[in-house]
Symmetry: C2
């Protein structure tokens, strides 16, 4: 799957992932109203609205980008109907040929991580049959529990040719509280990065590992160091746009082959129609606004990478 | 909810939580076969089997214990039908008066943690209506992203009088890889523990905070130190039984008031019928075996606490 991701990045010339993180107040009124008319003010209506909203965006941008990253929390908040919308979104994106990165940030003790790995990347055995549940192509993983909490994901990646991105240095303001703590002069995120590089050696694609890392665009100095520590690791970079990271900040995340990183934007794309810059599209054409925002992001990044 | 938990611990005289972590090979053959006969070898059959299995256990033990802890990964691996079984389990346990600790280990950047907090502990606004999704009483939270990833959970706890248990020192063998790293001579788990105590001050019940901690039974020396660092923090203690923690290891987790900790057992209870000690019950009476295992665990812990 890392090979497919890289091939698609090359083909689209866009190291971009669109974050499908639908807050209900991002959804244009006409979509939400239609869902509520049919289903009442219910979780079912929220799930339906989110799915319709996503579908519009996917149809408008799928030919421009290699991958999407649905954030499962935004679906899970609506309970079962929300997770049905998540599942439909994953399925639909895969039908459209997109690589799907489930932003689930799971991680637990070994046997429990194995259940998450099976549910999101692999399959479960039911009687004589293998059944797969959410079947994303990649997921994000939290490393706080150490190797035996991450290993089950790596094992499933190796079997299924799927991938993970392990949280190393996150984009949020207080990420440093624990991640930057210095251990013998070295920040913890570097130690985690060293582990990610090691875990990844067991699971190599053609040029990069199936085990990637998450490093926020909001910390480019740290990105530079982590790029060196993890030369074969693909980096998923959140924090561009709405969170404050700029295109100029992105260069250190890439290798000299022009690869090695994929940059996420969520709000900046899916909610573009609410920005002044794209206001002319209006809520009715929110998907066209998203398409234009993807084109602009592609140019912005290409310009900065030179 | 922390007051309710403490009241129920006092009433049952059992600082015990039963982990409802149903692996499919724990489910007795007659239950799984019936589900597969009706629904085929499908995720739906797995969900149905897990729910029937849980229901039997809950009916057999609910009067003996204050709380249950369903591990959501064991349901999520079966996709939507698995999560329907999770939801039914939460609802049924609450009907039986049990406190439900959703072992979800969520944690993300602020806005995303807020979505998880709303989905698991609070509610979401849909039009003019507040709808709640999974509505556990407590959930577990991963602190790797720092204060702004934990704060949204604390905020919802304060509003809804619900609670969280933040991972501080987990029970698994490699938990020390990152959690034990020394920062100026002090292990990271102590620094996390200090934060948990501070977060908890904002959110106090009568004698303990709504913000608890997870500290594994497998590390009693560390449990002792953490008990001192977090005097008003209730500690959820996994790792007793199948993972190797013994009753003698548990004393340091409790305060002098005899409170302050609740000990989880999963496999040791729900899969008791597969142990030699309880084999006489047989798979048909797996729920009675679970009841006997709870009674034995209660005595074991009472004996060790003196």
């Amino acid at each position: 799957m890392i090979n497919k991701l890289i091939e698609k990045i090359r083909k689209t010339n866009a190291p971009i992932v669109v974050g499908l993180d639908p807050m209900l107040d991002y959804v244009p009124g006409h979509i939400l109203d239609a869902a509520v008319r049919g289903l009442g003010e219910t979780l079912e209506a929220a799930g339906e609205a989110v799915w319709e909203y996503n579908k519009g965006i996917i149809d408008a941008v799928y030919d421009l980008i290699p991958a999407v990253k649905p954030q499962i929390a935004m679906y899970e908040q609506f309970g079962i109907p929300g997770l049905v919308a998540f599942q439909k979104t994953v399925d639909y994106c895969q039908e459209k040929g997109l690589v799907v990165i489930g932003d689930v940030k799971r991680g637990d003790i070994g046997s429990t991580s194995a259940a998450y790995a099976n549910g999101h990347l692999g399959s479960v055995q039911i009687g004589g049959r293998k059944c797969s549940a959410f079947h994303e192509d990649f997921i994000t993983v939290n490393p706080y529990l150490g190797t035996d909490g991450v290993k089950p994901f790596v094992d499933v990646c190796r079997e299924e040719k799927k991938g993970i991105f392990v949280l190393v240095k996150t984009s949020n303001p207080s990420s440093g509280e624990f991640q930057d703590q210095r251990v013998d002069g070295k920040p913890l995120y570097e130690i985690v990065g060293e582990h990610v590089a090691r875990w990844g050696e067991e699971c190599m694609g053609d040029s990069y590992s199936y085990v990637g890392a998450v490093v926020g665009a909001t910390y480019p100095e740290m990105g530079k160091v982590l790029r060196e520590i993890m030369p074969k690791t693909f980096i998923l970079v959140p924090g561009y746009g709405a969170q404050g990271g700029t295109a100029a900040d992105l260069k250190p995340y890439f290798n000299e082959d022009g690869l090695g990183a994929i940059v996420n934007s969520s709000r900046g794309i899916i909610c573009a129609y609410k920005q002044e810059k794209y206001a002319k599209f209006g809520a009715g054409n929110y998907a066209d606004a998203a398409r234009q925002a993807v084109i602009d992001m592609r140019e912005d990044i290409a310009g900065a990478l030179g």
